[in-house]
Every structure is written in C-alpha cells, then in structure tokens.
Symmetry: C2
Subunit: 161 residues, 2 copies
C-alpha cells in the first residue's frame, strides 16, 4: 500500500520543481493581495477589474467580456462589481443595443482609485517578480508560463468544443 504511494509520488528534481512552484502559487498571490489591500483597499481581483476597464474604450465593458478578461465566473464578477459600485468606482447600466448585456463603466472616482493603486502595485510586481530575474530568465518564464497554460487549456475537458 505504501509502496503504491511511493511509486506514484514525485521524486528528485521533479519534486523540487513542483514544490517550489507550488510554494510560489501560495505565497505570491498572498503577497500581491496584501500590498493592494494596504495601499488601496483592493483585492488583486478587484484591481484586475479596474485595470481592464481603465484600458477599455470609454472605460466601459460588458460584464461578460470583463468576466473573460478576469477569468472569472459571472457570479463572482457580479458581486465584485457590486462592491466597486457601492464605493462609487464603477457604474452599471443595461446595454442600449441589447438589454440583456450590462455595461460596466469606470467612474472618475474609479479612475482615481486605479491611478492611485497602480504605482505601488507595479513596484511590487517589479520587486517580487521581475527584478530578481535576469532577462533570459524572464524570457524563459514567459515560455514556461505559456506552455503550462496551453496544457491547462488542452486538458481542460472542454477540448471537444
């Protein structure tokens, strides 16, 4: 029984690779969230919403498009935007051209909150991720990330669509 477990378990270099990556997966989002919460009372997810809206034409996107950008369920996004709306940072209204869609728009206050949170966030990303790496490593990291993402999408059981 324990022998089965042993033979199935990761070992050696592969174990090291996975263990360090798993640790990054746990700590890095926590560190980023902590900085954003301190400086702008925002989660990384909420920041991502502001980011997407800030870069969109007229600071406006349909909820479903926004959900795609944020890789979020519609329900999660709906609640998050509701929170941002209650702070006056985002406003929602039905899409005039099709009442089923909802358009979310960044308000002036929202742009300000985004502009205020951005420098600290960018600085944190530099300090924690980009600056410790060499140019070659950053290039490698892009390729590694792309390969992992491709394997997730391919194996994501919705490959038949």
């Amino acid at each position: 029984m324990t022998d089965d477990t042993e033979s199935a378990a990761l070992r050696g270099d592969d174990l090291q690779t996975w263990a360090t990556l798993a640790t990054v997966l746990e700590w890095l989002p926590a560190a980023l969230d902590a900085q954003l919460l301190r400086d702008g009372d925002l989660t990384h997810f909420e920041y991502g919403i502001l980011y997407a809206l800030a870069d969109a034409p007229e600071q406006t996107l349909r909820m479903s498009v926004l959900a795609g950008y944020a890789n979020s369920s519609l329900s999660r996004l709906s609640r998050a935007v509701a929170r941002l709306e209650s702070r006056g940072w985002v406003r929602r209204r039905p899409d005039p051209s099709d009442g089923r869609f909802t358009l979310a728009t960044l308000t002036k206050d929202g742009q300000e909150a985004y502009a205020q949170a951005t420098p600290g966030h960018v600085e944190t990303v530099h300090r924690l991720v980009l600056d410790p790496l060499t140019t070659a490593q950053k290039k490698q990291l892009r390729e590694i990330s792309r390969r992992i993402l491709r394997s997730i999408r391919d194996g994501g059981e919705w490959s038949a669509s």
Copy 2:
C-alpha cells in the same frame, strides 16, 4: 493623470512576463483543485495536509508544525483539520508532553484516502506542469521560483525579526 498611469504601468516584455505568470497564478490552482475535488473530494490545501501527515513519523504532527508546512494560518488549519476529522481521516489529541500543543494524526481511513487521491494528482501535475517543459526549463523554473520566493521573504516586512 492618465500620463502618470501610463508611465507607471508595465510595458513590453515585462508586461508579457507578468501577464502570462498572473494567468498561471489564476488558472493552475483552479485546475489542480478541480481534479482533486473530482477524484477525492479534497481541496489542494486539504491534500497538502494529508501529504504532510502521511510523510511524518507515525503520521503525526503538531498543528503548529503542520501550519508551517502548509503555509497556513493556525485558524485556517484548525478548520480544515476539523473537516478532515469529521470525515474520520484525521484525529486530534493534546500532546502528552505539553498540553498546549495539539497532535494531528492521519487515521487508517485517511491514509487510504490519501493513497487514492495521490496517483491522479501526480498525474495532473505531470500533465499540466512537468511534461510540457524541457529538462532545462524545469531547471530554470526551479531557479526562477526560488528567486521569487526569496524576494517575497526578504520584502515581507518581517525582515527585521
């Protein structure tokens, strides 16, 4: 105003590096959780607890040590172990040598659940992370992860301790 935002924002290669890594940070944990939930009704966090206990002498660890392994707050761990205990996979009792500590032990059922969940999980880690990468890339990933982790620990504001 927008000029400040623009000048602070990430651009070019750095933006690509961060964007792809951020996407991995979002999708990979979700993919791993999904597999573990399907196959063993476990979150990745709960699996980590079973893993740590299974490898420990007498399948037993103090809660505080376990929290360290799982990089978890004590309160999160306490609730998670309570869930595992209610399934009969873990048992808790005061440490005889110091009643303040609590010892968590993997039960027979827990070992079985762990042994059953492991092959699928290992297979998923291989498929999503290890197999798509070359040996050189895996080596790079270890070094990259270590550098990021070091920067988190150094900058984690508790550097003064």
